[in-house]
Homo-oligomer: 403 residues x 2
């Protein structure tokens, strides 16, 4: 069977005044606590979510494919309706988006590590003893002085030994192999062109690395760099083009704002948690018809293995929901970009609970928003990329396919 394409959806999407709010609790899905037998979501006291679930319909979504643990990039692309197996966000691009760098279409980005090499040039520590972020900032400033012929370079600190490296100029290509060998005891590799056309860029990168090693010689343990994940922005059609929406993103963290910008959303910055996010939503409600609202701290708590904190974040979101409900959006979606069970302290492959409410959603038997209720919900289990067409349909923004 052919899969439905973005072109197919574009063909049947129409503009209408109805409004869709997609509330994404990052890493929402969890695993049951051994004692209580309940997940984070099931443990949380969520009267508002349960009320929506009662009137709405529930299901489970797989961001990439059953069993596959998604990164934040693929997880979000899938929610926005883009096949994460087709639109690949490279490591370098994600790193740049993550620090809020506004990548241009032809920029080449890479993830960088400061590392330690011995007097033979062999790597002894891939993280340079985890230098402080302050030291990272200092070294990035030093490397930013490197001049390249006709090419602009950016060396931007991320955290500890990590930085983002971006090249901007004409005829740059990203088909380069990593210089990071992912092991110690060997020298960093030179960047090699994977396609002949990328040879010019490989030369530029290797020239940069040579100059960087000279500057860093006196900065042991951070006396060398490694680069990996050379990539450009994927060529991705805008949500404005595909869905004919005027989409807005409300988020605090750079990576999510970057992902939203990538698919054509207008980005609103919200530093003050869900309360401020919903205040911004209210303020810009008349000017947009699709709203992606991102909550980060469910994921952070899960990553930290803090079951109780994740429960609390979910409860805070629930408590703030009346502000959202007062706006009476035509379609409300609550879900996550992936699961982050506190028990696993990281992203996981588990399908993500999904709650969808609209006047036309065909209410199911789910009486609460929980992994268990979602597993037998009316939406069944489906690939996450089906969510946007479903949201559009419930907002009566899709016409008939075929006669």
């Amino acid at each position: 069977m052919k899969m439905i394409t973005l072109e197919d959806i574009k063909h049947i999407s129409i503009v209408s005044p109805s409004k869709i709010v997609m509330l994404v609790l990052d890493g929402l899905g969890g695993l049951p606590d051994a004692k209580s037998g309940k997940t984070e979501l099931e443990t949380a006291h969520t009267p508002n979510l349960n009320q929506i679930a009662k009137k709405g319909t529930c299901g489970l979504i797989d961001p990439v494919s059953p069993g596959v643990t998604p990164g934040s990039g693929p997880g979000h692309l899938a929610l926005f309706g883009y096949d994460p197996l087709r639109f690949i966000i490279g490591r370098g691009v994600l790193e740049a988006l993550g620090i809020g760098f506004e990548l241009k279409v032809n920029d080449v980005a890479a993830r960088g590590n400061f590392c330690t090499v011995n007097n033979k040039g062999l790597i002894t520590d891939r993280r340079a003893g985890r230098i402080t972020t302050d030291k990272c900032v200092e070294l990035c400033n030093a490397l930013s002085q490197i001049k390249l012929q006709g090419i602009q370079s950016f060396v931007l600190p991320v955290k500890e030994h990590r930085f983002a490296f971006i090249l901007r100029g004409k005829e740059l290509r990203a088909e380069l192999s990593d210089t990071d060998p992912q092991k110690t005891g060997v020298a960093p590799y030179p960047a090699k062109h994977i396609k002949p056309i990328a040879k010019h860029t490989a030369d530029i990168v290797n020239g940069f690395i040579k100059k960087a090693s000279e500057i860093l010689a006196e900065h042991h343990p951070a006396n060398m760099i490694m680069l990996r994940g050379f990539s450009k922005l994927p060529d991705i059609p805008s949500m404005r083009t595909i869905y004919k929406l005027t989409p807005a993103a409300i988020a605090a963290y750079p990576m999510y704002k970057g992902l939203a910008r990538l698919v054509g959303m207008k980005v609103f910055n919200a530093e003050g948690g869900i309360q401020e996010e919903l205040k911004i939503l209210t303020d810009c409600y008349n000017k947009h018809d699709f709203f992606y609202v991102h909550v980060k701290h469910t994921d952070s708590a899960g990553e930290d293995g803090d079951f109780e904190r994740k429960v609390k974040v979910i409860e805070q979101v629930d408590a703030a929901l009346p502000q959202l409900l007062n706006l009476k959006p035509d379609v409300i979606i609550v879900t996550g970009d992936h699961s982050t069970p506190a028990l696993l302290k990281g992203h996981s492959w588990h399908p993500v609970p999904l709650l969808l409410y609209s006047q036309w959603c065909r209410t199911d038997a789910a009486k609460e928003f929980s992994e268990l209720a979602c597993a037998s919900g009316g939406l069944g289990r489906m690939p996450a990329i089906n969510l946007m067409p479903l949201a559009m349909a419930n907002a009566l923004k899709l016409t008939k396919f075929g006669a």
Copy 2:
């Protein structure tokens, strides 16, 4: 992931004496009434369907893809196991099938509108004031007099301002743009060839339109025509070839008979409702091994927004079922080609309830045939094109795939 293909199915299908009856209640799926919280199917008193559901297994099917509202063409093709995203039935072909015109493989068909143009040739009414069907018949007869060099043309009335236009002859191509601009205030477009090879056909069509406009000049408000959806029959393998079945269709409405003929079914005409359809089924039962029985009025009632009437049609079908059960088919399927909730007064995207019974179906927990029971049924939620392989399997008409 590669999807299973018709070639794969053909490879494993075998002939056996077992019999499959697929009862299609057009537009079966519904939405719950606000007061009762029950859909049309859930409101209907259906002891026989519930009895089969108890012994059988239930699920939900997506004719095209979640969120996508199917037309009748795609909906039916999917039920017969043909990917509706691959086998496209053009608007013109559907219009011709809909009036029972027996299209040949190389015919080019278009949907026609009589319209009104002013003295500058600009469209003022896209429906010519909705002329009567009698007037439509008269004008179609007049246009049927137009002679084209070496090409046969058919102008056939549909209803009010609508007609079907068919060209028959050598080297005709359907890669033509619409002449219907879908708006007023502009002149109808000339037909343009989308591929160079279609230029000859474009010239023929434009020659026809010129002659038509001369004949219609005195027939204001129907003084012009517009054509759209130029198409040929899709090149579709027969169910006889793929499934090695001897399939029969029992239906009243031309479009469904046309769709059935398209996939190689022998068509039986049944004007007298479900009772007559099941009488015909009984009569031809020994001569075929697959039976598609089509009930139209569930859809008509849904389109009219008549919840109660749709309930009644479902009850009529239920009451007639013993006649079907007496035949003891090896596989009984009850489903729809799409949902048509009375609340939406039209086709919708909601997945369609599916009931399958066979001796080998693996009975599930569903105790009745309803959207709710289907949502947690043993078949889960699946693409509708999986239904035919499932029917074949339950009839023990498929051998093992691979060694």
